[in-house]
């Protein structure tokens, strides 16, 4: 029963989507209702995911996991941003809003940017250790990498690399990406059909 009803609903709404797309008249009439419903359903996903995060970290603290300190940090972060954001939104002239803006601008933004900028350091070390001309395929990759890196920042006499870079991006890269995307597209289509017809049920959980 637990699996039967969701599967029936998936089939019905899958078919509704298909019919709406096939019939412009029905589409015009009902698509807005469908949008409102699905937007409302999606809001529950946010509630559910928040509940899940809280549950996960409470369990960690209860079991006295060695990293439980980070769970406390998570709770402090959720509460602080949640309360200041919520109150600040309804009282935009208050200090709550100021606190939220400052937390966002001077804590959240630099933390996020710092994590991403660490890539520059990892890449320099990884390139030094792993990028070797061991075989001809690796050598080709190395040469292409050199050209693109030079081409992206080319000026003056290096402009020849800019032209070659454009060719690399527009011809071989496009060809390979297109092949990958066609594969992905076919995969999405077949998986969608399998889900609508009830052949693929892993989204329901339970393992069977």
């Amino acid at each position: 029963m637990k699996r039967k009803y969701p599967m029936i609903l998936t089939f019905i709404f899958g078919m509704i989507g298909l019919f709406l797309k096939a019939s412009p008249i029905l589409n015009e009439k009902f698509v807005d209702y469908l949008l409102l419903w699905t937007a409302a359903i999606s809001s529950f996903a946010v509630i559910y995911s928040t509940f899940n995060v809280v549950k996960h970290h409470i369990l960690k603290i209860r079991k006295k996991h060695r990293d439980m300190m980070y769970s406390y940090v998570t709770f402090v972060g959720i509460l602080l941003m949640g309360v200041t954001g919520f109150v600040g939104h309804y009282f935009p002239q208050s200090n709550w809003k100021l606190l939220y803006d400052n937390l966002y601008q001077f804590v959240r933004t630099p933390l996020d940017a710092t994590m991403f900028s660490l890539l520059a350091f990892y890449i320099s070390s990884a390139a030094y250790r792993a990028f070797r001309a061991r075989e001809w395929q690796a050598t080709m990759l190395l040469i292409a990498g050199f050209i693109v890196m030079l081409g992206r920042v080319a000026t003056g006499p290096l402009m020849i690399f800019a032209d070659i870079t454009n060719w690399i991006m527009l011809v071989p890269t496009t060809a390979v990406m297109r092949a990958i995307m066609i594969g992905v597209g076919l995969g999405i289509t077949s998986t969608s059909i399998k889900i609508i017809l009830g052949i693929e049920t892993s989204y329901l959980g339970g393992g069977k």
Binding site: A127, L142, G145, V153, T155, T174
Partner: protein
């Protein structure tokens, strides 16, 4: 013996020194505020050209204007690349008096996007709700994309500030679906640009442009070639190109030093009691400096990126010389 020593030296640089040199090389041009000019590519020029076409259309048809939509689909983590793209595009639109609608496709970008919209609008004395609007968080994505097919107010019944979009904003009366948009742009560090191509362009024939991080750029080249994408700004380089073009236009249109222009913008302006603007109508010294610096942010980044690229290339060459020497030494043994 010598070969062994040299190869061992070349292959065993310590990680901390590699990091330290990278840090010094990247920070030096940023601290010195060096900028790097870049060549302009077709992909970026076509976005600029598209906005110019919208401007021309609006000039010729003042009763049937077109707007542009900017989706802030990036988090602060990719701010270095995406922020200059958004700044340049907003400046271009406001310079050309093109109405701008916007929202955020990722939760981390909601407040950031709003701050950028208000800050850039202030530079051109644009009014919230008339010249631009920010609709908050576009979640869930699919519903957001489809709602623009009929009337976006079904989905975004309130704007970021929680005000009803049906009653309060003239801009929403005129521009609420794809038919009234000349261009939809997704600025992103995620795969959301592909989503916009699939739904906005695929289903509604909306012209779509993208500003993406360099790592995501290669995924979008097939869409450029097929014409599903008007143009693309790829990484810091794409941002620098657009920034350059907009700077030229700004110099041509404003005909003043930007500092003088901004300082004088609200000099004799008296804000009415019901000030519809979402910003203070004056400039502090820090704000002025920030605004001037933000006009060359991508080109400053390009100067640092150039050195970083040369450094990585040098490291790869050194490591490969070491590797070849090691191979030779081992084959001799």
């Amino acid at each position: 013996m010598n070969l062994k020593k040299i190869s061992e030296f070349l292959l065993n640089f310590k990680k901390k020194y590699i990091y330290l040199v990278m840090f010094v090389l990247i920070s030096t041009p940023l601290v010195l505020k060096r900028t790097q000019k870049t060549y302009e590519t077709k992909e970026v020029k076509s976005i600029y050209q598209k906005i110019e076409e919208i401007y021309q259309h609006n000039q010729d048809n003042p009763e049937d204007k077109l707007a542009i939509f900017i989706s802030v689909d990036f988090a602060p983590s990719t701010k270095a690349e995406c922020d200059p793209m958004m700044n340049a595009m907003l400046r271009h639109a406001f310079l050309r008096d093109i109405p701008v609608l916007g929202w955020a496709g990722v939760p981390q970008g909601i407040d950031y996007g709003l701050e950028r919209f208000n800050t850039i609008a202030k530079e051109y004395n644009k009014k919230y709700g008339e010249d631009y609007i920010y609709l908050g968080y576009a979640y869930p994505f699919l519903q957001a994309a489809l709602s623009l097919g009929t009337d976006v107010r079904i989905f975004s019944s309130t704007d970021y500030y929680g005000k009803d979009t049906y009653d309060n904003y003239p801009i929403m009366e005129k521009f609420n679906n794809y038919n009234k948009l000349g261009l939809f742009t997704s600025i992103t560090g995620t795969s959301l640009a592909e989503g916009w191509i699939q739904y906005a362009n695929g289903l509604f024939n909306q012209e779509v442009a993208a500003g993406v991080t360099a790592v995501n750029a290669s995924r979008l080249y097939p869409f450029l070639q097929s014409g599903q994408l008007v143009g693309m700004m790829g990484g810091l380089k794409g941002a620098a190109e657009y920034e350059q073009m907009v700077e030229r236009l700004e110099k041509k249109e404003i005909k003043k030093d930007i500092k003088n222009y901004l300082s004088g913008l609200y000099k004799n302006y008296e804000a009415p009691e019901d000030n519809p603007r979402k910003y203070d109508t004056s400039y502090t010294k820090t704000e002025l400096l920030k605004s001037i610096n933000s006009r060359k942010m991508a080109r400053q980044g390009m100067a640092a990126q150039k050195i970083a690229h040369f450094y990585v290339i040098a490291l790869i060459i050194i490591a490969n010389i070491g590797y070849l020497l090691k191979k030779r030494y081992e084959s001799r043994r």
